[in-house]
Assembly symmetry: C2
């Protein structure tokens, strides 16, 4: 099976939620959790992971929170998935720590390499701002630049 998981959804929800605010405004994990009626702890951890990979930045203490620290035009779904799930191959066989026990007699290795590559490309080409239809100041700017180049 091939499915999108919750943590990736939470990450998308967080970005969607935060991108509706002014860039300087802080957002707390509680705020998001309340808004989407989801589990605070899990969502908070996702946001912390996003800080690690510098998608967000955080301020601690009372009145602390998170704010966007990246251009969502340059962020893609592949990257975002890595942020929440850690780096991993999309075809299990090729994952470092997985070690596929069939690999020595496998008759579809090269097809799987191809598939792995195609999946990576697919997710890399999916920009978050496009997917979430975000029109931030930055986003709008980049879009128009893109248009000029394209047209």
């Amino acid at each position: 099976m091939v499915r999108i998981n919750r943590k990736l959804e939470y990450a998308l929800m967080v970005l969607k939620y935060m991108s509706a605010k002014a860039p300087s405004e802080l957002t707390t994990a509680k705020e998001v959790a309340d808004f989407i009626k989801g589990p605070f702890d899990t969502i908070a951890k996702v946001m912390q992971q996003m800080v690690h990979s510098e998608l967000l930045r955080s301020e601690q203490g009372v009145q602390g929170g998170y704010f966007l620290a990246t251009n969502l035009n340059k962020l893609n779904l592949f990257k975002l998935n890595e942020v929440v799930s850690g780096p991993m191959e999309l075809v299990k066989c090729f994952d470092e720590d997985h070690h596929c026990e069939l690999s020595s007699h496998c008759n579809i290795q090269s097809p799987l390499v191809t598939l792995n590559r195609k999946l990576i490309d697919f997710f890399q080409e999916l920009s978050i701002s496009e997917l979430l239809r975000i029109k931030s100041p930055l986003s709008a700017k980049s879009q128009s630049v893109k248009k000029e180049v394209a047209g």
Copy 2:
């Protein structure tokens, strides 16, 4: 996470293995299991599922086995995944029996619909014969037709 699972791999292995034979020759589950050094029962069940969806046909009894019953040019990865995993949405939220408890407050529903659609398209456009680089008589024929149309 977003990953290809074993059953789909087994199905691909089976098709790869069988497509190397003459169309009339039978292949047993044991034969495939021995060849790839995989678990007989699981592989057998995958082949049985393929019979249900008429990708293969079977003959019972001693000297029984399976043979290809479909044009692999017309088979795509989406369909093959459905055959081994049953019909299901690629974004869990939209799955009939899953019922996403966040859906009433979800702020990314429309993006998820888009993503779901794109994933389906991606897998539907991946033809099995192309992926496995199969050059069966049928396959070769269709390929040349395709070329003529394209060129």
